[in-house]
């Protein structure tokens, strides 16, 4: 049996009804699957459809199970394994609050520039930076800010979409 653990990004289109997120989360906790990141928002208000993006990890057998289990939930319309189905784009947004003065403050601004971060709030002693990108880039940015007065981090979790003309 295949034992290698793989990381997959799965997109799920669901009815935007009360309890649907609890159903998905309950499925993961009840069956012992991992959730590395989870995002959800309504994407089609006319048809009341929401899109959930889950980043999960497991053996190929477990990944197949996760997809099958998600598909059998009654309010689930579609399940796509973006990792398995070809090229896709993944993005995450982070807000990073840094409080420092003097040389550290200048250095933080310089690094923010390198990462194309935007300062969305500034005071005399702090900045809030907004950065988007793949998870690795955000991790690198956060790590660089740590010695420069990092006080708070808020991340959205991964959203993803397939490349090319084809829709969901």
């Amino acid at each position: 049996m295949e034992r290698t653990v793989e990381r997959h990004t799965i997109a799920v289109l669901v009815d935007n009804e009360p309890g649907v997120l609890a159903r998905v989360i309950g499925l993961f906790s009840g069956r012992g699957y991992n959730i590395e990141s989870l995002t959800v928002a309504e994407v089609n208000p006319d048809e009341r459809l929401s899109r959930i993006t889950v980043v999960t990890s497991g053996t190929p057998m477990v990944i197949e199970q996760i997809k099958a289990q998600l598909s059998r939930l009654v309010p689930v319309h579609k399940v796509h394994d973006l990792t398995a189905e070809g090229p896709h784009v993944e993005r995450e947004l982070v807000l990073v609050k840094v409080a420092s003065a003097g040389e550290k403050r200048v250095e933080a601004l310089r690094i923010a520039d390198v990462f194309r971060a935007r300062a969305v709030d500034s005071t005399n002693e702090s900045f809030v930076f907004e950065v988007t990108g793949v998870q690795e880039k955000l991790n690198a940015f956060i790590n660089l800010m740590r010695p420069l007065g990092l006080v708070d981090v808020s991340r959205t979790g991964v959203v993803a979409i397939s490349r090319g003309a084809k829709g969901f």
Partner: protein, 586 residues
Amino acid sequence: MADQALSGSEVVLKALVDQGVEVIFGYPGGAVLPIYDALFKQNSLRHILVRQEGGAVHAAEGYARSTGKVGVVLVTSGPGATNAVTGLTDALMDSIPVVCLTGQVPTHLIGNDAFQEADTTGITRPCTKHNYLVKDPADLARVMHEAFYVARTGRPGPVVIDLPKDILVGPAPYVAPERVKHRSYRPQIKGDTKRIEQAVEMMAKAKRPIFYCGGGVINSGPAASKLLTQLVRLTGFPCTLTLMGLGAFPAADPQFLGMLGMHGTLEANLAMHGCDLLINIGARFDDRVTGRITAFSPNSKKIHVDIDPSSINKNVPVDVAIVGDAGHVLEDMIKIWKARQARTDQKAIKAWWADIEGWRKRDCLRYRTSTEVIKPQYALQRLYAHIKDRDHYITTEVGQHQMWAAQFLKFEEPNRWMTSGGLGTMGYGLPAAMGVQVAHPKALVIDVAGEASILMNIQEMSTIAQYRLPVKVFILNNEYMGMVRQWQELLHGGRYSESYMDSLPDFVKLADAFGAVGLRATKPDEVDHVIKEMIDTDRAVIADIVVDKTENCFPMIPSGAAHNEILLGPEDEAKKPVSEDGMVLV
């Protein structure tokens, strides 16, 4: 057009009637009083008043499993709903279609810790196929119809509809079932033809094949069992059934090897172990069937037909997976088999049957007979001899008696055998028998019970009395939680911790107290007489069969063991001590 004249409660009842419901099992309470008031004013729905909500769900399960219809439950909010949870989980595990209506506090009080409030949709989310909380009267009729569609379509299961009291009291529009179509839920019913062709090809080439079939065949309807029988006979292959599948293939057929799994027959388990092609139709490779998964049927190609895609490759990786309804796939298999004029490898199949007959000769269900004490197996053999020519239905509780019933009672047709397989719910059998008897008033309905299990829902004897249901309770009374005691003997050095049933009631007097007839047999030569009297009595009967206290259920594949490590009896048990690895398993 929507009919504004109806109240929410009336919409609920109208939807039930339009869904073909005839019987509801329920228990009133504050939050559902409007529905009970509406029930009082109509005559199309019959209500069976149970004595505890758990009994209502099991009764609905028995009703559903013996008729193929959706079972319906009506309970109040809070404790009414939480008492229903075990039955809902049971129905989920065994894929039984049930719609359970629960009362709820009015919408403006939800979340306020109101009297008899519970987060019913939250609590039942993991133990239902789907659930709804109706917060807008405009959704009520649609939700009612959708719930029935979801409960019976695809892999069947329980659906809860939580109904706040204000929704029941206020006006609500009605919509007919034909006008409701679920937005997204469309399970795959028809199997992929290419894969079915591939499966047929593998079947034609097989040298040591076996059919391993389960409850999915029964859930597909009686036609599926007929098709299975046809295919098995067409191929000449052996067939074994799971606990949930008993009746899907006639037990008297020489191609039937009996039940497989932990307490299955030697021939079924060794054939599973030694086969080169395993054809699974509507079973789910449950751990009670597979034993140690790494040693399960090690040299076989595997075909798996299941309506639930998540059952495929869950426990055991398979070579050909066919998602679809058992009946449809079986029909296609037969068509393709006949169209190709498929021929099996006669010589190999003959040799395979010779192996199987060799195992069968070991007569694995043999037990030491006695003229002093009643052996439970003997009691069941005698019971079967008396009922086999009658229109009968069997339910069971959970434990040794359940396994003996599966071994010693023979099922020639589907929908005749109601047992709690997946969840293993003690207390299932009596209310389930009640539900079966309501559906089949003229039939002989017997709950094969243990003295421990029967006490878990004994209050339902009162329901049985109220509706004059002639249910027969056949207790194999060994004064132990027999299966617990057996495991303690095998795995825990014979330390019988809390498995002895001290201070049991006098079941004969108990029957009397509930207006039923109580009978007792203590010696083997009394068994026939008691069974005959039980059957001839046209009222409810509790037959207390006092059996050997220390009899163990064999064959047995201990937890964590493989099919070929099966224990045949006490002698075998002494020779092959059970590995301690199995202790951590259930």
